[in-house]
């Protein structure tokens, strides 16, 4: 009665098992000792990964602290300027409601007077003045005077009192400026970095012809960097080729001469050029006494001097990657080309030269990017119109205390560098770059 029907059951059972097995293979792959192979692989890989992480962790932390964080701070500083907002909280609230037409009403003046009073007490009125001064020259001293006056005010009407303290408070432009500066996040520094500014109505306009500086500086920075890069390539490529083809002993001796300038500090080398290029210096002496020139020529404080010194300093940076790539090119390639019927020049051009491209690209990219950041050399041997963007960054940060401008210029430089880098990556591929 209870005998089960043996008919289709085993078959169904077997079929089911088979289905299950094939499903298991499909989802988890091959099994070893009851553990999926993929899982085993992952476990084995995990140890290796942990080891790798442990090895790079110290450097990674160092880079984050010394490089990553400063860059983030710089990016932030280029759009963030909170002093005015912090020091004038009442004014900020009051101005938010201002429609921007005519002068603001009495409550706004009152808010400002109270804020200035507090600022004066905290001895921080000058900070507000400094920020206003970026866009309105003379505003710093005027604000300090106003703050002193505001400190003495007990009752209103504040409007007349402030305008009496300084007439700038009666001007519409002062208030649009103040309203802008009470916002902590500002595009002002970036606009200034590309020679734009706000007009009295808060509209963006180009700065007048005579005051535009930075666009020209950026163009000049790119131009000088490109020139120096091209010169180092023209000078370095044949030398790298010579070094790569000479017997090892001779090549090493020559290489030491190249590296010698590498081992000397940049400041020392620049100072050497400073001495050499003087109007009464050795180069002029030589040219003058040999009669090549009739009159001593201006070498120092010129574009020529800047480019010469920079080319000298950058030469090893371009040369070494090219040299190292050339060392790796088997001489049998050119031989093969010759045996296949190519003349010496054609074999070089079609077979050797293309293989040096990763080195050329790496060397030129390195030199170009380093040139973008040159500061000491142009300021020592260059004239006023030979200064690169870094000079201005340094000027803003160290002398003027204007972190916003310094950061904005620095950010633009960084972005330009990154763009170059990505172009390089698209053209050559970063994995093919070989440094020495």
């Amino acid at each position: 009665m209870q005998a089960p029907d043996p008919g289709p059951m085993p078959y169904a059972h077997e079929y089911g098992t088979r289905l299950m097995v094939s499903a298991a293979v499909a989802t988890t792959g091959i099994m070893v000792d009851g553990v999926p192979l993929k899982l085993k692989l992952r476990r084995a890989e995990r140890m290796r990964k942990l080891k790798a992480v442990g090895l790079v962790a110290p450097l990674f932390l160092f880079i984050v602290v010394s490089f990553g964080i400063p860059i983030v701070v710089m990016l932030f500083n280029s759009i963030y300027d909170p002093y005015v907002a912090k020091l004038t909280p009442r004014t900020a609230v009051a101005l938010a409601a201002w429609d921007g037409n005519d002068l603001p009403a009495e409550p706004v003046f009152e808010a400002l007077a109270l804020d200035l009073k507090d600022a004066q007490k905290a001895k921080q009125a000058a900070l507000i003045g400094r920020r206003l001064n970026y866009e309105l020259s003379g505003a710093r001293s005027k604000l300090i005077v106003s703050a002193k006056a505001a400190a003495k005010l007990e009752t209103g009407p504040y409007k007349e009192a402030l305008i009496a303290a300084d007439p700038m408070w009666g001007e519409h432009g002062t208030w649009t400026l103040l309203k802008r500066t009470t916002r902590a996040y500002t595009p002002y520094f970036f606009l200034s970095s590309i020679d734009l500014r706000y007009d009295a109505n808060g509209e963006i306009e180009p700065v007048p012809e005579g005051e535009a500086v930075y666009q020209a500086v950026f163009v000049r920075t790119l131009l000088i960097s490109a020139t120096v890069t091209a010169l180092t390539l023209v000078l370095g490529f044949p030398l790298a080729y010579l070094l790569a083809t000479l017997p090892a002993r001779t090549a090493n001796i020559l290489l030491i001469f190249v590296l010698m300038s590498f081992w000397t500090s940049l400041l020392v080398r620049t100072t050497a050029w400073f001495v050499l290029l003087q109007t009464q210096g050795p180069i002029n002496d030589f040219l003058f006494y040999t009669g090549i020139v009739g009159e001593r020529i201006q070498l120092i404080y010129t574009r020529f001097g800047t480019i010469t010194a920079m080319t000298h300093i950058q030469l090893p940076f371009t040369l070494l990657p090219i040299y190292s790539v050339m060392k790796g090119i088997s001489p049998s390639h050119v031989r093969a080309a010759r045996s296949l019927g190519a003349g010496p020049f054609y074999a070089f051009w079609r077979v050797y030269f293309p293989q040096t491209m990763p080195g050329i690209a790496a060397g030129c990219l390195l030199t170009f990017i380093l040139c973008l950041g040159y500061y000491i050399t142009p300021s020592l041997v260059g004239g006023p119109t030979d200064q690169l963007i870094s000079t201005y960054v340094a000027l803003f940060v160290s002398s003027a205390g204007n972190w916003g401008m310094g950061s904005a210029l620095g950010t633009i430089l960084l972005v330009a560098t990154l763009i170059l880098f990505f172009i390089y990556n698209r053209l050559v591929g970063i994995e093919r770059m070989r440094l020495n």
């Binding site: 049998s332 390639h333 031989r335 093969a336 010759r338 045996s339 296949l340 019927g341």
Partner: protein, 363 residues
């Protein structure tokens, strides 16, 4: 004026790199058209140097090389019309297979359409048509090697030089490639100078083999001649397996001689390279020419021996015996029907014919 027939002639060629050591010493070699000649020798014996001088990448310090009746002295490499396969292939890494093959044709200003057909034909010849668009780095060693061969042949050179082209390949692929190159040589009717230090490869492929040692040709002959009748102890040792017995000549009678082998026994041998009575000599004897327990009187040399070791190698059994005071004497016993299996330690006699035992120089 050139002697009739020779396509390539080395005339008294010497080469030194450093002014002290002659890497190639007084090389005289005639190669006729259509020949497959192999330069065989140990590492550093000057094979590559010889090839490079022929291709034009090294200049002979002395002597002259003549190609098709023309001295090569002032002919730069790219005008010699010699195809070369380099030891490391030397494929251009930045070009595809197709571009590599087109290179010699572009240099010769062949028209675009012709280039396409000839490249395709060359690729089909080495069965690599489907890899035309790949870079050399994306090919296996054997495929790269075939591309290198195709590139050296695609412009129909008069002469093709190959410098250990199969050195980097595994045994199976190497043997397959040996046959392919041999067939190409027969089919295209080209002259090939081939370099290797693998003797089996040399025997398989060549019309003639030049055995190099220390910058000198030791022997230049056909593969069978080289194997059967080596003229020096070096060649005998270098080509194939070889039993060496050292001794001193005690009597000369015409082409044969009597040698007193160190450690006991008088051996009758073929006098090939002996200075005369009293001079030292090395007897050379191929393992497959030695018989075990031959019928008495059937061979002139018959010695008691002891079986030391047996190694089973499938088609034959390598049997090491000690005889005449030498315990590294090898006998190859064919694993054929009815052959007797010996036990280590068994006492046997070994014997060989006079003409199979060659008395060579003492080195």
């Amino acid at each position: 004026m050139t002697a009739g027939g020779a396509f390539v002639r080395f005339v008294d060629v010497q080469k030194t790199y450093d002014g002290e050591v002659l890497v190639v010493k007084n090389l005289n070699l005639d190669i006729s058209k259509g020949e497959f000649i192999t330069l065989l020798g140990p590492s550093g014996s000057g094979k590559t140097t010889t090839l490079l001088m022929l291709a034009g990448f090294e200049v002979p310090t002395h002597g002259d090389i003549v190609l098709a009746g023309e001295s090569l002295k002032h002919l730069p490499p790219h005008k010699r019309d010699i195809g070369m396969v380099f030891q490391n292939y030397a494929l251009f890494p930045h070009m595809t297979v197709e571009e590599n093959l087109a290179f010699p044709l572009e240099v010769r200003r062949v028209s675009k359409a012709d280039i396409a057909t000839r490249v395709k034909r060359a690729l089909d010849m080495v069965q690599l048509g489907v890899y035309a668009k790949r870079r050399p780095a994306q090919l296996s060693g054997g495929q790269q090697q075939r591309v290198a061969v195709a590139r050296a042949l695609v412009f129909d050179p008069k002469l093709v030089l190959m410098d250990e082209p199969l050195g980097a390949l595994d045994k199976q692929l190497r043997e397959q490639m040996q046959l392919e190159i041999r067939h190409l040589h027969q089919r295209l009717d080209i002259t090939v100078v081939y370099v290797t230090h693998d003797q089996a490869e040399a025997l398989t492929m060549s019309n003639r083999i030049a055995v190099f040692n220390n910058g000198e040709i030791q022997q230049l002959s056909t593969p069978d001649e080289l194997y059967e009748r080596p003229v020096s102890a070096f060649v005998a040792q270098f080509i194939g397996e070889n039993n060496r017995l050292r001794g001193r000549v005690v009597a000369m009678n015409g082409t044969s001689c009597e040698v007193d082998v160190e450690g006991g026994g008088m051996v009758r041998a073929l006098a090939v390279k002996v200075a005369g009575v009293g001079s030292p000599t090395t007897l050379s004897l191929r393992p497959e020419r030695v018989r075990i327990n031959p019928a008495a009187g059937s061979v002139p040399n018959l010695f008691p021996a002891k079986v030391e070791e047996l190694i089973y190698l499938g088609d034959h059994i390598r049997t090491r015996v000690s005889v005449c005071g030498h315990n590294d004497f090898v006998v190859k016993l064919p694993n054929s029907e009815g052959s007797v299996a010996f036990q280590p330690g068994a006492s046997v006699t070994v014997g060989w014919k006079m003409e199979d035992c060659r008395a060579l120089d003492a080195s």
